[in-house]
Structure formats: structure tokens, C-alpha cells
Amino acid sequence: MKQFTLERDFDAPIDEVWRAWTDPDQVGAWLHSAGGHTPRESIRFDVRPGGEYRYTMVNDETGSRYPTGGVFREVQEPTRLVFTWGHPDDDPDAAPVITLDLAPQGTGTRLTLHLAAIEDIPDPMDTLIRQGWATGFDQLGELLTGAAARR
């Protein structure tokens, strides 16, 4: 099963943590991978059940673009946010789903993030091609071994 849960405590009140996830002016500041940034103009957030969101992360070095988007499934401010997550063109029903649960924890907030993917049905053609590639790779290995032995 392609799923996992992350739990993290933040030293901020629950409404601030909620806003960091749902305010388009804040999301870009932190929602990117290492070596990338998310331009504000790429961010659209319609935070309501059925509403869409999107943003694009840009690789700092190469400039190549990684659009991300999805649909909100549940919006219960400030304790629960459920949304699909993938490429904006993906069918939301097939996209992975992120579930955020927020709870006050002392003066801070405990965030639980659960990410689950819809399982792919394997394509029989994939298996045939993989087997073919595996054979080719074995022969590549022999070829390289032979070349090394002849030196």
C-alpha cells in the first residue's frame, strides 16, 4: 500500500498553521522542494469542498517547472483539510490524497499528515517490456565484462 503518515509539532497556534496551508500569500514561502521555489503568481487556492488549488514549483538551477494541483475534499477550519495532490491535469479521483489533521498541543499545534496513493493496475505490456530490458541489461553486463577481460 502506497501510504504513510507524518506527525509534527509546530510552535505556533492552530489558526496560524491552518493559514500557512490555505493562504495563497503564505503557501509559496514553504511549499517547495529543496533547490526550488514557488512563485506567488503561480498560486491559486479556492479553499472549499470541491474547490481547486494549483501552484508551480520552479527548479532554481534549471528553471524547469513542476505544476502541482488538486481538489479540496474536506475543509473544516482549523482542524481538518483533505485534498487530492498531483499534476493539475490529473483526474482527481485517481490522484493521491493528503489528509491533514490539526490539534492544539500546549501553546502549539500537532499536525498529522497522511498521504495515500490510489494503486495502479499493472499493464501486461509493462511486464513484457521490463523482461526485455532485463535481458538486454544482462547482455550489457556480459559485454562490459568481456571488454574488461580483453584489456
Binding site: 500500500m1 509546530f10 492552530i14 514553504w30
Partner: protein
């Protein structure tokens, strides 16, 4: 031996182009994509992208799945490896983002963040 040499040449030809290397890297890091998504990412025409994909597919490096998405062809691609890799990759990515979030929440850029005096706990 001739067949293996041909395959080797196709792999090297496929990897000789920086855009094709970037496409492979993108598939590895971010999962399957369509031609349209690649065309947008590289600001390239679809025929130009398709040409790159054909070279990569002929070399046996990528394959198209049931949903017309291109994905990396892996040597030992059983379901368990797939799931494990997916989990590792995404867990690491999201853990990094939550680190970023902690920094963002703590930093001066956060609006109206003044430390609450100990006697002034907010009731929730």
C-alpha cells in the same frame, strides 16, 4: 552480441542529450507524466517532446502505461519495490516541506506573530 551492442548504442544515444537526461530524472523523481505535461515543463512543442520520448523508449528506458503516461522502466520493478520507493521518496519530500513550514512559522515573515506572554494563554 550484435543485439546487445545495438541496445547499448541506443542507450548511450538516448542519454547523450541533456533534455532526455532531464526527462529521465524527472520521471524518476516525480513519477509518470504525459506528453502534454512535458511540453509545458520544457516550453517545447509536443512533436519535439515525442521525438525525445521515442528515443528513450527505443532504448528501453521508458514505457507508456495504461493511462498514456510515460514512466521510467525499472530493472527490478515488482510492486513491493515500487511501493517502498514511492513511500521513501514522498515521505522525504514532505518531511522537508514540514521543515520549511516550521521555519516559515517561526520566522519574521509570519504576519502578526508576537510571542504570547506566559500568563496569557489562548483558550481553544
Amino acid at each position: 552480441m550484435v543485439r546487445a551492442t545495438d541496445e547499448l548504442s541506443r542507450v548511450f544515444a538516448a542519454l547523450a542529450d541533456p533534455t532526455r537526461r532531464d526527462i529521465l530524472s524527472r520521471l524518476r523523481e516525480h513519477g509518470p507524466v504525459t506528453v502534454g505535461q512535458l511540453a509545458a515543463a520544457y516550453a517545447m512543442s509536443r512533436p519535439a517532446v515525442s521525438q525525445h520520448l521515442r528515443v528513450l523508449a527505443d532504448a528501453g528506458l521508458i514505457v507508456q502505461d495504461a493511462r498514456a503516461q510515460w514512466r521510467e522502466c525499472r530493472l527490478t520493478d515488482d510492486g513491493l519495490t515500487n511501493a517502498r520507493d514511492w513511500i521513501e521518496r514522498n515521505r522525504a519530500d514532505w518531511s522537508q516541506r514540514l521543515d520549511n513550514l516550521a521555519t516559515h512559522l517561526a520566522g519574521p515573515a509570519t504576519t502578526a506573530k508576537t510571542p504570547a506572554p506566559p500568563t496569557n494563554r489562548r483558550a481553544r
